[in-house]
Each structure stands twice: as C-alpha cells, then as structure tokens.
C-alpha cells in the first residue's frame, strides 16, 4: 500500500472514530448510541490494521483483529444487554442539552488540538498528526460521563475514553505491545461487566436506569 492511500485510509478511520464520539452526544436513543460505539470500535480496529499492514507488523494486525472483535462486537453487545430491560430507552434529560453539548464537543476538539501540539511535535511519523483526534475522543468521553445520567450512557462515556486512549496509543507508538493492549482491554471489559451488574441492580430496585436515583444510602 503506498503512503498516500495509507494516509487517507488512516485519516478516514481516525475521522470515523471522532465522528462516532460526536454521534453519541448527538443522538438521544440509547440504541443508536450503542450502534455508534460499535462503529467506533471497528474504526479503531481498522486504524490498527492499517498501521500494521503499513509497517508489516504482524502483532499489530492481530491486535487490530482483536480490537474489531472486542470493541466492534463484544462490548457493544454487552452494553446492549443493559438496555434489554428498556428497549426504547432514551437519554431524556442530560444535564447539558444536546445543542450545547455538541458545541461543547467542538470546543473540546479545539482544546485537544491545542493541548496535543507538543505531543504531535514529538512524534515524527505522519500518523502522529492525527493524535489530536484521539485526544478529542477522550475528552468527549469524559464530557459525556459528566453530563449524561443513564447508566448505559456512563458506560458509553467510559468506552469513549478508552477508545480515545487506544487511538492515541496506536498513532503515537505505531502499536503498543500486545500484552499491554490486552490488559487495557480486559480492564475495560471488567468495568463494563461491573456496570452491567450495577445496571441490573438499579433496574430491579428502581425500574429505571437513572443514576440520579442513587442519592441516599440503604442498608
């Protein structure tokens, strides 16, 4: 693959990652949000695959396949299970309304661009220029965890943060060691499982998946 097509593939995949992050803020239906998350996971895997193919790095190709499988299919399915109780569930009243949070996401993207300039200057590869996009995904994930109330949205926010970190890692280092990547992914998987248990408990207790219900202590 020549370097022009390599770069444009990489740009499109990285652009898709941040686009999906924006979509999770844009849409209200939680199912649509989880779908965006799945697409984002696949795009992240494609980033790793493209990098692996370009650098002839077999481990990175394996990691890419694993990422597509785990973040594109497995984790979204788990999150979707959380929604199984409320199939038409919507993010009805986020703390910051949708237009404002979209504009906020735009501002965060700018912030990410400004904040990562030293990092970009440090990385010599052409892929390094896309690092701000990963950083922006991370910030949008934090933002979404802060302003969203549903348990599933919180999980999605966390996964956005993780995907952002993974994107930065891929672009900056042309692949973290397999063990580290697997460790991080397993961590996230565990958190998703814990949050799923929490969500089930919430559902059986309050019949809603709203974290604002958790305001007082019980025995």
């Amino acid at each position: 693959m020549n370097s022009a097509t390599y770069l444009s593939f990489l740009e499109i995949a990285a652009g898709l990652v941040i686009l999906c992050a924006i979509v999770t803020l844009w849409r209200r239906s939680l199912r649509a949000i989880v779908r965006a998350l799945a697409v984002q996971g696949m795009a992240l895997g494609v980033v790793a695959l493209v990098l692996g193919l370009h650098h002839h790095d077999d481990v990175l190709i394996v990691v890419g396949c694993l990422v597509v499988g785990a973040k594109g299919f497995f984790i979204p399915t788990l999150v979707k299970r959380v929604l199984a109780n409320e199939p038409m569930s919507r993010e009805t009243s986020p703390l910051v309304n949708v237009p404002a949070s979209l504009v906020g996401a735009g501002a965060l993207t700018f912030l990410a661009y400004g904040a990562t300039r030293p990092v970009v200057a440090l990385v010599s590869t052409s892929a390094g220029r896309l690092i701000p996009l990963g950083f922006a995904t991370l910030l949008i994930g934090f933002f979404s965890m802060v302003v969203r109330r549903k348990a599933a949205s919180q999980i999605v926010g966390l996964l956005l943060v993780d995907n952002g970190i993974a994107l930065v890692a891929f672009l900056a280092t042309a692949g973290v060691p397999l063990l580290v990547e697997l460790g991080a992914s397993l961590d996230v998987l565990l958190v998703v499982v814990v949050l799923r248990v929490l969500a089930v408990q919430l559902w059986s207790k309050f019949a809603v998946l709203d974290l604002d219900e958790l305001q007082e202590l019980h025995d």
Binding site: S8, E11, I12, I18, L102, Y113
Partner: protein
C-alpha cells in the same frame, strides 16, 4: 475576433447552465414527488407536473394584498435573480464557468441566502400572522444554518487552499484523495444538512403540508398567487437544484467538462443532470422514512451540522 468568440462562448455557457437549472428545478421537484408516491404505493403525478403547474400559475391573475408595499412584489423576482446570477458563474457543467475567477464559495452561497432573506421580508410585508410566523421560523433556521455553512466552506477551503468554487472542483478532479479526506466528507455532510434545512426539506420542514402549526416555508408564501407564486416555486426549486449540483460536483466531480469544447460541455451537462437526479431520488427515499422534526429539536440537528463542519475544519488543519 478571438476575444469576441471567447466572450460569446462564455455567455452561451452561462445561458445553458441557467436554463438547465431553471428547467431542472421543477423537474427535480416532480421526480422527488414521483419517487415518494411510488414508494407509498401511489401512482403519483407525472414528473413534469410542476412545470405545468408553473405554466398555469403564470397564466393566472396576480392578487396582491391591499396593504402590501413594493417589497412584496420584489421578493419573488429577487429570489429568482439571485439563483440565476449564481447559476451562471458556478462550475455546474464545466470547471471554467464565466467569471470563474470571482465565483467564490462564500460569495455564491451568501448571494443565494439573500433570496431567503428577501422572501422572509416579503412575507412580513403583508402583515398577516402566518407570514410573520413563517418568516420568524425561517430566519431562526437560517441563523442556525449560517455558522455550519461558514465553517463547512472553511473546512473545504483549508484542504484545497482556495475557496474559489471552480478551483475546488478542479482540485477534486486532480486529486481524488482530497475528496476522500475526512475534512471534505465531514464538510459536505454538514453542507447537506444545511441544504435540507435551507430548502425546507423533510426533517426540517414538510414541503407538502399546510398545517398551520408546523409549516415554515408554506406559511411564508401563503399570500402569493399567480405569477408571483410561480416565480417563487421556480426560484425555490432552482435553488435546490443549484445547491445539490454544487454538492455533487464537490463530492463526485467526474464528468464535469474540464476542457473547452461542445462535446465536453454536453457530457458535463448530462453528468450533472444525472448526478443531481440521483441525489434527488436519494433525498426523496430518505424523506419517505423520516418524520418531520419538532421545531424545538431543530437546533440539535443544526448544531450537529455545525459540529460536523467544525470537525472537518479541525481535521483539515490537523492533516495538512
């Protein structure tokens, strides 16, 4: 002599482009209605029905409200004039339109938006409740569209290093990688959202309803009749065709005439018509499956368009 011939060709190109947009507008409207009716299981009116409607309207008597001023009568004319002006100088069928040097993306789009402003003024001029309501809604949407539009154009201009429209199309032809770049894709999707909003298509405004609670565009043109209404229908549909023509030429520029010559120009013209028709059919199919958004949810859609454009601009800067 040579200069004169050049001048005449340029005039001819402009006239043909304007004519194509003027006839293509109502035809596209008819095509979209046809697709919609077919998908809903109806036969639908023939595709050239809007042209017949316009002919009928031009033959009818023109009624103007008693208290209205010259603004009311001028609005339809200005609307059509703006589209004619920009259609003449834009790279629709050829990448070397007349006055191509001055056909800047910002200028073209904002001359076009002048039409909406004038239409809103005309609707206000009658002093009826509906006109005012429609104008206020339409201006709200316009104000929300504008930032998205500006930043979308900026994003495209950054990656192509020019905001000159013919140059933007030529860059796309010469370097297909520019079109596939996320900056261009994001900017064009934002542009599409703005087109749908500005031309009153479905998620924003339902073009086929006359329900007073929801209508935006129809509320503005309620007082118009006869030739005035015909001009408005032609102008609005021309605007849709023109904007879609720009969109498809920026997205899939292949077929546009790059070199002078009658043959190239004809190919360019047919390619343009085919591409716009495909785009129109796709929008019509999309409209069958969507419901109109609540007015108060519109800022979400347009803020989304703005953020898409902003992302496009940021990635353009990042990837430069």
């Amino acid at each position: 002599m040579n200069q004169f011939a050049h001048f005449m060709t340029q005039v001819l190109v402009a006239v043909v482009q304007v004519f194509a947009v003027a006839v293509g507008g109502p035809l596209l409207l008819g095509l979209m209605r046809k697709v919609r009716s077919r998908l809903e299981g109806r036969v639908g009116a023939p595709i050239h029905q809007p042209l017949l409607d316009v002919r009928k309207l031009f033959a009818k008597q023109r009624m103007r409200p008693r208290e209205s001023s010259w603004v009311f009568g001028a609005a339809p004319v200005v609307l059509v004039a703006t589209v004619v002006a920009v259609a003449a100088v834009s790279p629709l069928a050829t990448t070397h339109p007349p006055l191509g040097q001055s056909s800047d993306f910002f200028a073209v789009v904002f001359v076009l938006l002048l039409g909406s402003v004038v239409l809103a003024l005309g609707a206000l001029d009658t002093g009826t409740a509906f006109g005012g309501m429609g104008s206020s809604r339409s201006m709200t949407i316009g104000a929300l569209c504008e930032p998205a539009l500006l930043v979308a154009i900026l994003a495209m201009a950054i990656s192509a290093r020019t905001s000159n429209l013919p140059a933007l199309v030529r860059v796309g032809l010469a370097h297909p990688a520019v079109i596939a770049s996320p900056a261009r894709i994001l900017a064009l999707s934002s542009f599409l959202v703005v087109i749908l909003a500005e031309s009153g298509r479905l998620p924003v405004d339902n073009p086929s309803t006359h329900l007073e609670l929801t209508m935006i565009h129809e509320a503005m043109v309620l007082e118009y009749s006869g030739a005035d209404l015909g001009l408005i229908i032609v102008g609005e549909s021309m605007r849709l065709v023109f904007l879609l023509g720009l969109l498809v030429n920026l997205l899939v520029p292949w077929g546009v005439a790059e070199r002078p010559g009658v043959l190239f120009f004809c190919v360019g013209l047919f390619a343009l018509l085919a591409k716009v028709a495909v785009a129109g059919v796709m929008i019509a199919i999309f409209e069958v499956f969507t419901a109109k958004m609540r007015l108060f949810r519109l800022p979400e859609l347009l803020a989304g368009g703005f953020v898409l454009a902003l992302l496009g601009a940021v990635t353009a800067v990042v990837a430069r």
